[in-house]
Amino acid sequence: MLFFVVPLVTILAVALETGDSVNGFTLTWNFSIFPDALDQYQTQFVRSFLYGGASTVIALLVMYPVSYWIAFRGGRYKSILLFLVLLPFFVSFVIRILSWQFILADDGLVLGTLKDIHLLPDSFHVLSTPAAVIAGLTYDALPFMALPLYVALENIDRGHVEAAADLYASPTQRFLRVILPLSAPGIYAGVLLVAITNIGDYVSAAILGGPNTTMIGNIIQQQYVENQNYPVASALALILMLALLVGMFLYARAMGTRSIQQYV
């Protein structure tokens, strides 16, 4: 608790300070910084939630079938398959994103080849577009989505599924009415884990993005490190945190009736 509260209060204090790097920053209870910062960086906030949300949904849609297949059809290869899903994550995060930059370059491995055989117009590009940023975020989220999903699916009592079959439920009905509801805890935990990390991410936008794809994480980083504008950076960080908390709370109200511990 100490390691959480003290930094948090410090950030709040810094956000309410005014000054500059030469004369120092002093506490002036400058609460107007919150509306000001929110107003100035509204676009980036909205964009962060859009990108973060989109990447979470895509990661869920991609990883659910994969986790399902491993949990139900993996047989004795389950652990190996799961390990394969996690394997890329033994490579550093930044290196992974950088290699996407290399793969998706305009004249690179993929686009270059497609352009050479005239499947794509010369001016086509993926990097520097919102799609590239969302793809980077999604890619990075895959294992964090896969693990909780796998655990939830693996824990489903196969007896329930069989019982449904005995009661003449079709495969679709079995999935929709038995497996999907029983895996809800995994979906809940996976979405939570991925959405929170991705909304605050800045690496993907910095490396794969271009103009008009800046996320709020990039702004915080720039204000803090490059401009040494600590109050604005702190205020933005707090707003982001608050927004995430509210979002999480609403999500918990809508989706979760049980505590998170029970899900994971």
Binding site: V9, T10, L12, A13, V14, L16, E17, G19, D20, S21, V22, N23, G24, F25, T26, L27, Y41, T43, Q44, F102, A105, D106, D107, G108, G112, S123, H125, L127, S128, G209, G210, P211, N212, T214, N218, I219, Q222, Y224, V225, E226, N227, Q228, Y230, F249, A252, R253, T257, R258, S259, Q262
Partner: protein
């Protein structure tokens, strides 16, 4: 059972009801809050003012210093000669002077590096570096104004006085070379791939050519970005530019972005984008293009636009509280010999601060490509195009500048 408990808990959170007991509790929290106020007040971040070394008798300081046999040198990556993992120039220095050099290529960019060392200097501690290389710009201005640098001992640098090019003597950002001497200089001009653009590039305005939509690389550093904008707006005397001029430049840059011309605002990675074909035309640093030409991309061209080219200097300086200042001075003096400069220049390929190194590279090292390159030893016609950057007058001035240019990049 547990489910019910949780549901009640959530309801409690969403429905503000205040009982008498809670009121008492809130009162207690308020009292604790008073203690918190004190804590909050204490969270103020100190400024850099008054943390530097003012009113120091530097003559006496230098008279008291002794050579220690050690030197910690912070520099940028790929900014010194490398031969099979060693640095021959540094090895030669150790052999001649007995000073061991701990060479650290740790500086990736001025602002983040400054953000790392400034809290240390503010607290009055040593950064651990005896010598560091920083570009003329806002960070260097702050280092000088905060008195965070040790003035160089002018008597210990005879080679600088003898061999330094007029271009690096007595620069506008450090009159009389009181604190700095140039490590290397460079130009920020335009690089392009003639095959992709299909025509010769001659002007800064080509960065605004609609034919290159989505294929233009600009720099994310606001000093570089602003300078290009000002050149395009016809403002060549940038040291005397005004906020009105900045706004004119920013308007042009915003239009360039909104018309979809800009592919991305790059840091050092702009050169890779050019090599990969992500961009066709880009703001560029002279040395990078020369290096790219010799590492598999011979087509890329660097040009000095007719509006001029921005000239910058990366400078060696001794941070305050450095532990081995005499050793740092010895290296500065050693570096400014033509034969040492030539060794490094033949590898680094930026603008050489010692003109006499040209003959050494041509005759002794036998590398006419470098010796003849106008990007390393600029011809008078190139020199005519040199333009200087704006020097910030203080923290407010700098803030006004960033407020004008940052929104372009932060979109």
């Amino acid at each position: 059972m547990r489910d019910q408990l949780d549901a009640a808990f959530f309801r409690g959170l969403t429905q503000p009801r205040m009982s008498r007991r809670q009121l008492v509790r809130a009162g207690a929290a308020g009292a604790a809050g008073l203690g918190l106020m004190g804590f909050l007040e204490a969270c103020g971040i100190g400024g850099s003012k008054g943390t530097g070394a003012e009113n120091v008798d530097w003559d006496k300081f230098w008279a008291d210093q002794k050579k220690s046999g050690e030197l910690v040198f912070a520099n940028w990556p790929y900014y010194i000669d490398i031969h099979q993992g060693t640095h021959p120039s540094l090895d030669l220095f150790t052999k001649k002077t007995g000073i061991k050099v701990d060479y650290k290529p740790v500086i990736q960019n001025n602002a983040p590096f400054f953000a790392k060392i400034s809290p240390v200097l503010k607290a009055g501690h040593s950064t651990g570096y005896d010598l560091m290389v920083i570009t003329d710009g806002w960070e260097l201005t702050q280092l000088i104004e905060n008195h965070w640098l040790i003035p160089l001992d002018q008597s210990r640098m005879p080679n600088f006085k003898k061999y330094a090019s007029p271009a690096v003597r007595d620069p506008r950002f450090d009159p009389g070379n009181q604190y700095t001497v140039t490590w290397q200089s460079g130009m920020t001009g335009i690089a392009y791939d003639p095959k992709a653009t299909g025509r010769k590039i001659t002007s800064v305005h080509d960065l605004w050519d609609p034919a290159f939509k989505g294929k233009v690389g600009m720099m994310s550093d606001d000093t570089e970005l602003g300078a290009a904008g000002m050149l395009a707006a016809g403002i060549t005397d940038q040291p005397n530019s005004t906020p009105d001029d900045w706004q004119k430049a920013a308007d042009l840059l915003t239009k360039q972005r909104d018309d979809g011309l800009v592919r991305q605002y790059y840091d050092q990675s702009y050169i890779k984008a050019l090599e990969d074909g992500d961009t066709w035309i880009s703001q560029a640093w002279s040395g990078d293009v020369f290096q790219a030409n010799h590492s598999g991309y011979p087509d890329l061209k660097f040009i000095v636009p007719k509006e001029g080219v921005m000239l910058w200097h990366d400078n060696c300086m001794i941070p305050l509280h450095a532990e081995h200042p005499v050793d740092a001075m010895e290296w500065i003096n050693f570096y400014y010999q033509p034969q040492i400069e030539a060794m490094i220049e033949d590898w680094v390929w930026y603008l050489c601060p010692v003109p006499a190194a040209k003959e050494v590279i041509a005759d002794k090292i036998g590398d006419p490509t470098v010796a003849k390159s106008p990007l390393v030893f600029p011809t008078p016609s190139v020199q005519k195009g040199f333009r200087e950057y704006y020097t910030f007058k203080g923290v407010d001035d700098h803030q006004q500048y960033t407020e004008i240019f940052d929104p372009i990049i932060q979109s």
